[in-house]
């Protein structure tokens, strides 16, 4: 044990990450599943007059529009799952927000901005409260949000009087402002539905946010090793509450989009959406154990589900058979991801 120090630089050399391109591809492995399904969709698409119906601009816009709400929710869900939690209340919060927008604008004659802001705030607070229950009292988020689901659904029913509240537009009493209707329309030459735009904006914002913010490090840390996070001075409780709040906020944003797309806020809106959103997240490669995953994956996962639904419908597959096929494709997509180099 003499002065060998200089020689012993030791330590494993940092090897050139084998096949950088392949590795990068695999980092976005969920994109593989999406691609595979997309190609399959083109192959199996019905044709009319030589045109491949699936890839017509209209149809593609429909595909994305159809998943935009689930997509928005799934992005919030990604955050929650990244910290190792789960949020079962999102579908019910969507319903609550849809009812809220309709009631406020139609029955209470609120303006566009105040109504939307209040609804978003409700989602945020609802989520934050769930965060408090899980972060501060320490109840498993599954239970907290299962209860939250029932509470939000109950509130939506009470607020709406149990019936869907129809939305008509105009300046009169019991009419929602025209500005609200815009959210349901299409832009860029009538091609891109506004909900798709909102989904895209939220997705990009989330991706950028996760890349550049310190908060995102904290979030991964809480999900990856909560104790290490705490010891490093990460404000674990605050991170958790914030994440549930964001998820609630995005669910209520989806609810607003839902209401405007369907011209109605109904207390039964969004039933079962939580499972679709979680499926999108998990197909997108995020681990339910927390600490690992990405928003980009989630977006791919949501689109995969959308394309799958669309191509089955375009082929008029019997709805029972559809269930079987969807089940199998979901498993296959997930299995495909396992091909990535060991993590």
């Amino acid at each position: 044990m003499t002065d060998l120090q200089d020689k012993t630089v030791a330590a494993t050399p940092v090897e050139k990450s084998a096949g950088g391109v392949v590795a990068t591809l695999f980092r976005f492995q969920s994109v593989f599943g999406l691609l595979a399904v997309f190609i399959a969709a083109i192959i199996f698409s019905p044709r009319k007059d030589g045109e491949i119906l699936f890839i017509s601009a209209d149809n593609l816009a429909n595909v994305v529009r159809a998943v935009s709400e689930i997509g928005i929710i799934a992005i919030g869900m990604t955050f929650v799952i990244l910290i190792g939690g789960i949020d079962l209340s999102v579908g019910a919060v969507l319903g609550l927000a849809a009812v809220g927008s309709a009631v406020l604008m139609v029955e209470n004659d609120w303006g566009f901005l105040p109504a939307v802001l209040l609804v978003l705030a409700i989602g945020l607070v609802f989520g934050a409260l769930q965060g408090v229950a899980t972060a501060m009292i320490g109840i498993q988020s599954f239970i907290v949000t299962l209860a939250g689901l029932q509470i939000a659904r109950g509130l939506a029913r009470i607020w709406s009087g149990g019936q869907g509240v129809a939305i008509a537009y105009g300046d009169g009493p019991n009419e929602a402002p025209e500005s609200f209707a815009i959210l349901g329309e299409r832009t860029f030459g009538g091609l891109v539905p506004i909900p798709v735009l909102i989904f895209a904006v939220v997705a990009i914002a989330a991706v950028v946010f996760l890349r550049v913010s310190a908060f995102s490090r904290h979030l991964y840390a809480v999900g990856g090793n909560e104790k290490a996070a705490r010891l490093s001075g990460v404000p674990v409780v605050r991170v958790k509450i914030a994440v549930f709040a964001i998820c609630g906020l995005l669910a209520s944003l989806a609810g607003i989009v839902h209401a405007v797309q369907l011209n109605q806020g109904s207390p039964n809106d969004g039933i079962g959406y939580e499972l679709d959103a979680i499926a999108a997240v998990v197909i997108g490669g995020t681990s339910l154990a927390g600490g690992r995953g990405s928003v980009a994956g989630t977006v791919a996962g949501a689109l995969l589900l959308g394309v799958l639904n669309n191509i089955l419908a375009l082929n008029n597959i019997d709805s029972n058979i559809q269930l079987l096929i969807k089940g199998l494709v979901i498993v296959a997509a997930a299995a495909l991801q396992r091909l990535r180099p060991a993590s």
Binding site: M1, L4, Q5, K7, A10, V14
Partner: protein, 524 residues
């Protein structure tokens, strides 16, 4: 006690966990520019005392003063704000985050736009790591690193805090000699700049080298405080354990029997290779029954991977060469098969690979030998209790009740549980990966004694260790691995630490190769 009292003074510290009094009326002080070693058996209360100082444990008795000001920290952040940083014994890193993100977790560097400044974080963490002697790509996820590398990352992280008080709880338990030397340089540098350091280690030879003062805890109480340069290791150990202990097992008896294990040109080609993993690339060795064979090598030489392959947990892929156990060729595909062949394995990271921390000592001890405690899949509870009480006694496990969660045991005692579990399977060949990591000298001696005893009964042992004294002291023979190959074999009767080290590092060529590879891969 007056000399360095300026920086930290803890008085009358007490902490109780259920029935266990972890600390009792402890007075402890630390001066600026002082390296204060904290010694004691496993479970003596060292980590607990330091967790109190670093704000991790917040409910305790007694008072803490920093620079004469009384403080009570509400959490680790408070302590960090007061200039106290701690390297935890159990490597607490976030596996999914990169090295740089881990180093700066909770105090990310920002750009003007308040976004995270990744480049600066990468640059600075690279520099910090180099300072503690390792070249690592700061963008690699920590979960991909070897245990030793992870330990260096935690050290870099602690250093980056620029703390006035730096607590190092067993910082070297997974490091080989060369990294340890490098760390000592860093410690000396920090001391010169006035940082007070608490150094906890079970590697006795380190204490005299770095510490200015040493305090010994036993059963949560201070037994003595002394100048480590003035006492011999034997005296220090006696203070710790309360009785004289012969620290090394020194009688490798030549009395070995037939060939037990023969490994012939073993190589594994993983179907999906992982960066940084060093699967066997042609290893040959033998272990005779009654023989203890050591495995030496640098960080990443492939010792762990060899043991894993023998135990049936090699990565999927092709395996060439032969493994012959008692004359029969075997090819274990999973641990169960290895166990059925009479091969036991003690993994190096007891927390992630060894234990279910929140399960009982009992459950953890008997899990590998369950079939022997009953019939038809029904467990005879009395038999398993008896077996685990017997094993606990044999290993001198320090514990409260068998029902206690194994995670509440001190690190060394956790290690004994994993060890005991394998012994209960009555193996013919025992594969040990750093079996004494974090184990106190007394317990180490027990383990060595036990190994000797078992070898006497015909057991063969293959022991990978980063502690050269251990290899020399315990083994009959040491095989040195480098880059996944066996490069030398020594009889411990006629060779020393220097020989092992030289063989492990190999020629300049290897060193050069490592370095070049780094240049290519680590470029910004």
């Amino acid at each position: 006690m007056a000399e360095g009292a300026g920086l930290v003074r803890m008085s009358g510290i007490g902490k109780r966990y259920g029935g266990v009094q972890a600390c009792r009326e402890v007075d402890f002080s630390l001066g600026a520019g002082e390296v204060h070693a904290l010694l004691g058996e496993n479970g003596a209360g060292k980590s607990t005392l330091m967790k109190i100082l670093s704000g991790d444990v917040t409910d305790y008795d007694g008072t803490i003063e920093i620079n004469g000001e009384p403080v009570h920290f509400g959490g680790p952040t408070d302590a960090q704000a007061a200039g106290i940083a701690m390297i935890h014994q159990e490597l607490d890193l976030v596996p999914g985050l990169s090295v740089a993100d881990n180093v700066f977790l909770g105090r990310e560097l920002r750009t003007k736009l308040h976004t995270v400044d990744r480049r600066r974080m990468d640059r600075e963490s690279r520099a910090l790591l180099e300072r503690s002697g390792v070249k690592l790509d700061p963008r690699r996820p920590v979960g991909e690193l070897r245990v030793g590398e992870q330990q260096l990352v935690t050290i870099a992280k602690a250093i980056s805090l620029d703390a006035r008080v730096l607590i190092m709880d067993e910082p070297t338990s997974a490091l080989t000699t060369s990294e340890v030397e490098r760390l000592f340089d860093v410690i000396r540098e920090l001391r010169r700049s006035g940082v007070g350091i608490v150094y906890i280690s079970h590697r006795m030879e380190e204490i005299a080298k770095v510490a200015d003062r040493a305090t010994v805890l036993r059963n949560g109480q201070i037994v003595t405080s002394f100048d480590p340069r003035k006492l011999s290791t034997a005296e220090v150990v006696e203070a710790m354990v309360g009785r004289p202990v012969q620290t090394m097992f020194t009688t490798p008896d030549a009395d070995t029997g037939d060939e037990l294990l023969r490994v012939d040109n073993l190589a594994v080609k993983a179907r999906r290779p992982r960066p940084g993993r060093r699967d066997p690339e042609g290893i040959s060795l033998t272990v005779r029954s009654g023989e203890i064979v050591g495995l030496a090598g640098l960080l990443g030489a492939g010792r762990t991977e060899l043991l894993e392959t023998l135990y049936g947990v090699a990565p999927a892929g092709t395996q060439t060469g032969r493994i012959v156990l008692q004359g029969k060729e075997i090819r274990p595909r999973r641990p169960r098969q290895a166990l059925a062949h009479g091969i036991g394995f003690v993994p190096e990271d007891r927390r992630t690979s060894g234990l279910v921390l929140f399960h009982s000592i009992l459950a953890n001890t008997v899990v590998s030998s369950l079939p022997s405690y009953g019939r038809l899949g029904v467990i005879a509870r009395r038999m398993e209790r008896t077996a685990s009480v017997r094993m606990a006694g044999r290993l001198r496990l320090k514990f409260g009740r068998l029902q206690d969660e194994v995670g509440t045991l001190s690190g060394g005692n956790q290690q004994k549980v994993v060890f005991g579990r394998m012994l209960l399977t009555e193996p013919k060949l025992l594969l040990l990966d750093e079996p004494t990591r974090g184990v106190d000298v007394g317990a180490k001696a027990e383990i060595y004694r036990l190994l000797g005893e078992l070898a006497g009964q015909g057991l063969g042992v293959l022991l990978a260790s980063s502690e050269l004294p251990e290899l020399i002291g315990v083994c009959d023979r040491v095989v040195v691995l480098r880059d996944g190959r066996d490069v030398a074999s020594f009889s411990t009767a006629d060779s020393g630490e220097g020989d092992l080290l030289a063989a492990a590092m190999g020629e300049g060529a290897t060193f050069e190769k490592l370095f070049t590879a780094e240049e290519v891969g680590g470029a910004q």
